[in-house]
């Protein structure tokens, strides 16, 4: 269907549109017009991606600036989905407009997923693929070949150089599979095709990391212009992604490997000194001059990028004491040795980067400045030595990255040494965490650089938390409710068992038999009444294991077994995917199954249980983080001091966003239906932290239930859902045809006119005395207070 938003003609690839999709597009357009950032929450399963793409593509094609879209998503499958949507949209546009627009949309993913080289693509680990690819495609390898040496090259990569650099792939939308197929046909490397075509694309779809991780972003996303539209989809976890991209963990093993890497480097340097001293001398001369390597022009094959953010990069020459290759290697060895010494301490240490640097200087005479240049100097050295087996140097690279980061940032980071894995362990297995505490550090360049950044997800409440934590301002913050022709999902809060004993996963009572039994009864009752699949979420693996073994002892599992197959998620992803497959089979053949999984595990993020795959989701306990973790404690303190976010507020927010994410798993569309049960006493007070669309559907009568009441309510709901429901019933309410849309627009216009008239009248009749807080305000403000 085709309609206008203000003056912008939008082509929407479906005959009907949801009201919230229309509202979403209007707000999106407002944001783009204002060239600002926004946070939007739209219920899951209401076509967020397609409305986003259709509006932005329309915007691109209509206005002369042709602002590029960078769409970031979290997982491979989501990237694939978005590409498929985009492809369908462009096909629809071509059909409607009668001609094919000049348009390129590409997806980018890792080398491992895209490689065509016959032997490299068989490698299992991503980093090995990366390293081997580099050794076949690096600039110096090619030079060697030209000199007539016998070295291996990747044919697929070389063929790219024969093509026009701006037209490696014809216009159109290319899914990942499509790119690979095209690459196979034309014998060209899909990965480098996508990388090099990025400046010429209208839409780029890739993972968060290409924009947020400074190590990658510097290389991949450097050339994108300022007016790009950046979208982070499924962004409810974006702060954690930011933090992870700047955090480093070092273990004894990795340090040992790093030391070995440094020794190898030393050997290589001696070799090169005897065979090709000129090269080292050239590198040295360049460093003396303070020149950046000329080979940077196309550094897609570089060993590693500087981990510091672009505006922190030093534009001066490398310090004199690490200028010579042998000096630098000795420097690295000393630093690694120092870290090893630190690892031997048997008690927990947490310190700030300045104090770490001071101690380092006292002990090893390593100053801050050469440390900052560590990553860059290592890259330059590796390039000069023309190393091919780069994967051996990965641990050394990690140490260099650590060195640069620790010397660059004073604030927002913390070093924590944990000598033991757990409280009870007696054999030390030290881990040196270098943790980033401030999510705003990694994402700041993105906000600084791009004029419009859109952060969107199905569950991103409370909206104001994200701008606070990530340090940006929004022009639009909006949460949409779900328009429904019938009540198609039933959220409930169960606080008591049938015996009226409060249930909770709180630390004090979580292992009490009465609580465990009540949880068991809840599961049993729901397994009796729910058709097909049930998904159960626990706060942690540990708790899940203990509760399952207790249920086994109580005979609850035997009872459940009569109704459903029971499957369990494990930390191992292979096992989990097998369990998922079995679960799906069991749901499909009508027996139904129960999947027991963890609220922060793989299943809770990114796996959909649409229709019969999930009719009930049970959230057992509030999924709080493990609060005794030192890293979390440090982060909480940082948040309190820097952003004035209280510990409890953040913990509760974090738990509720994961709970909401779990609940959202079962409802993937308007014709879907499902029961959502929050089983914990503490949910009663936290209901205002749920996303608006869930909270609205949660009626007062469905809160504070006991198990038997919940079961009765669920039975009624399921009976209602069993009634025939035709697509026609939804029309005009939860789906709009073009006519409905026109009507809505007219109504909005009328409302506006009335409002204006009303305002004029109101102004003439004089201001009405206002109470300090209107009644509506009170309700809203009180919600905040309670939260």
């Amino acid at each position: 269907m085709k309609f206008n938003i203000d003056d912008l003609p939008v082509l929407f690839p479906y005959p009907r549109i949801y009201p919230e999709q229309y509202a979403y597009m209007c707000d999106l357009k407002r944001t783009l017009d204002a060239k600002g950032h926004c946070v939007l929450e739209m219920p899951s399963g209401t076509g967020k991606t397609v409305s986003l793409l259709s509006l932005i593509v329309a915007y691109q094609q209509y206005y002369p600036e042709h602002r590029k879209l960078i769409y970031c998503s979290r997982t491979m499958s989501e990237i694939e989905k978005a590409l498929a949507e985009l492809k369908a949209l462009m096909a629809y546009r071509a059909e409607q407009l009668g001609y094919v627009e000049e348009f390129r949309g590409l997806g980018l993913t890792s080398r491992k997923n895209l490689c065509l080289h016959p032997s490299v693509k068989r490698e299992k680990s991503g980093s090995v693929v990366d390293a081997r690819c580099r050794s076949l495609t690096a600039g110096f390898v090619k030079e060697k070949k030209e000199r007539g040496e016998d070295v291996d090259l990747c044919v697929y990569h070389d063929n790219l150089d024969l093509l026009e650099p701006h037209n490696l792939i014809p216009p159109g939308v290319w899914t990942i599979d499509g790119t690979i197929r095209y690459g196979e046909q034309h014998k060209q490397c899909p990965y480098f095709t996508a990388r090099r075509m990025m400046p010429f694309c209208n839409v780029i779809i890739y993972s968060y990391h290409y924009l947020l991780d400074p190590k990658i972003a510097e290389r991949v996303s450097k050339e994108l212009s300022k007016d790009c539209i950046v979208v982070f989809d499924e962004a409810h976890n974006i702060d954690n992604v930011c933090i992870e991209s700047l955090s480093i963990d070092l273990t004894e093993d990795s340090l040992r490997k790093a030391a070995r890497g440094a020794n190898n480097l030393e050997r290589k340097i001696t070799e090169m000194k005897s065979s090709d001293a000129e090269k080292l001398q050239n590198e040295y001369a360049k460093l003396v001059e303070g020149l950046r390597d000329a080979g940077d022009a196309r550094d897609e094959d570089a060993f590693m990028a500087n981990p510091a953010l672009p505006d922190d990069l030093l534009k001066e020459a490398v310090p004199g004491n690490i200028r010579r290759a042998e000096h630098f290697v000795a420097f690295l060895k000393r630093f690694v040795e120092y870290l090893k010494t630190r690892m031997k301490v048997l008690h927990v240490i947490s310190e700030t980067p300045p104090s770490f640097l001071q101690h380092l200087k006292e002990l090893t005479f390593i100053e801050r400045k050469p440390l900052r240049f560590c990553a860059e100097r290592l890259t330059s050295l590796v390039r000069t030595l023309e190393l091919t087996n780069i994967e051996d140097y990965q641990p050394l690279q990690e140490v260099a990255t650590f060195a640069t980061l620790v010397a660059t940032y004073d604030k927002g980071f913390l070093l924590i040494l944990e000598p033991y894995e757990s409280e009870t362990a007696t054999v030390p297995n030290p881990i040196f965490h270098f943790t980033c505490l401030d999510a705003a550090i990694a994402i700041k360049p993105v906000f600084d650089r791009f004029s419009s950044v859109i952060i969107t997800s199905g569950t991103i409440s409370p909206l104001e938390m994200y701008p606070k934590m990530l340090g940006f301002n929004t022009v639009v913050q909006e949460s949409y409710s779900m328009t429904l022709a019938r009540r198609s999902f039933l959220p409930m809060i169960v606080t008591r068992g049938s015996d009226q004993v409060a249930i909770s996963s709180g630390f004090q009572i979580r292992n009490e038999p009465s609580v465990v039994r009540n949880y068991g009864n809840l599961l049993m009752e729901f397994s009796k009444i729910t058709p097909d699949g049930i998904v159960v979420f626990f706060p942690s693996y540990l708790y899940m294991e203990s509760i399952i073994s207790m249920w086994q002892g109580m005979g609850i599992l035997d009872e459940v077994w009569k109704y459903k197959l029971i499957l369990v998620e494990t930390p191992d992803s292979q096992e989990t995917s097998l369990a998922l497959e079995t679960y799906r089979t069991a749901c499909c053949n009508g027996r139904g199954a129960i999947l027991l999984c963890v609220a922060r595990g793989k299943v809770s993020e990114g796996i959909d249980f649409d229709h019969h795959y999930g009719r009930t989701v049970l959230c057992i306990g509030v999924p709080f983080q493990y609060t005794e973790s030192r890293i979390l404690k440090a982060r909480l303190e940082f948040l309190r001091e820097t952003y004035r976010i209280r510990e409890n507020d953040f913990l509760s927010f974090d738990a509720m966003r994961h709970a909401a994410q779990c609940l959202g798993r079962v409802l993937r569309g308007k014709d879907d239906y499902g029961i959502m049960v929050l089983a914990d006493r503490r949910f009663q007070k936290k209901r205002n932290q749920l996303p608006k669309w869930i909270n609205q559907a949660l009626l007062e009568q469905d809160t504070n239930l006991s198990t038997d009441m919940a079961v009765a309510s669920a039975k009624k709901f399921l009976r209602w859902m069993a009634q025939p429901f035709k697509a026609k019933d939804q029309e005009g309410i939860s789906t709009w045809s073009l006519n409905d849309l026109e009507k809505h627009k007219e109504k909005v216009e009328e409302d506006k006119i009335k409002e204006l008239q009303g305002a004029q009248n109101g102004a003439s009749s004089g201001a009405i005395g206002h109470d300090e807080f209107g009644d509506d305000d009170i309700e809203e403000a009180l919600m905040e207070v309670d939260a």
Binding site: L346, P354, E362, E637, F773, I778, L782, V785
Partner: protein
Amino acid sequence: MSKLTQRNGMRPADDQETCPICKTSRYLNPNMKFLVNPECYHKMCSACVDRIFSAGPAPCPVAGCHRTLRKARFRAQTFEDIQVEREVDIRRRVAATFNRREEEFETLLDYNNYLEEVETITFNLLNGIDLSATEKKLANYAAQNAQAISANASRASREAASLSAQQAAEREAARLRREAARREEEEEREEREELRREALTRLAAGNQGEADRIAHEMQKIVLKKSTARKQRQQMESLLKPRAGMAGAGGAAASGLAAGADNGSAALADNDTFVIKGLKPTLPVEPEKPYDPFGGYTEHREYYVLKDTYEHPWLDDVRSKPQFLAGGYDVHEYYARTMFEAFSGLCCFVGDEVAAREKASSGEVATTAAAEAAGAGGGDINMDDVF
């Protein structure tokens, strides 16, 4: 020598299980400690050290090593790799001598060249290349630049001290903030409890049918209190100056202490270490004695204060014991009276007007400053109170 060795609970490395000299294993002696001597870096257990070196200097017991070792110099090993241990010892020596700072150089390139030169010397010492020549260089440099070296060393130690003081202050501030936050939370909870209790009592005391009204009123109170608290917090956070920042800049900002006499580097001998690109060092002016009046003097321009002035009614003051006993000093009186009499006599209105006009014709921004200078800058006599 460092924090690290003082920290208790260092875990012994896996290879530190038997003493290479007496072959005692850790199994037999769980608190065995290994020591090294920076003379030859051969490892032995503390029992061996006691046994061999208690009677005085003795040769190293390791076969082939004939160095004479003293007990006093034995110490615990910091690094696992003995090479690094040795390197750090050498670096300590080199760093104590070559401690120039970046701001002493004219350009960055000069500084980098200097750093590289120092690194080369260290490397030579480490790997035994040109050992005697390098040692000589080091000694010569140390002798020539003794003053600069000690100045830089004292500065470095001052900076280190201020840094650790600052860190301690920051830790303390963080602790205080943490406590404040906890208190705040506590107070808030108590307040909420209180209000709930109050609401209940009011409900209990109220008439039938008034429940809604009371609940509504209570809600309003809660809301007002919470907004008031929020505002108060915001105000506090705005007003509160960043603690711990005060002590920061002091030592670091101290000016360039100098005293290097790189003129003596003119000997272009091979044995001397020449640093290029050092900034010419200005001799620091000796500090003047402290002047409490900030440049004002008691010098009088227009009159001379005599020792005595004849006036009949001053006679009493000079002679009568009532006055003298009270400590009245007639000279004070003279000075004050004369000052008052002559004050204002040295104001030259014409000059000041001219100065003001000149200033106001200039840029607007500097007017105020110029006026101030025109008014007060010219004459700083005690005579002129205006």
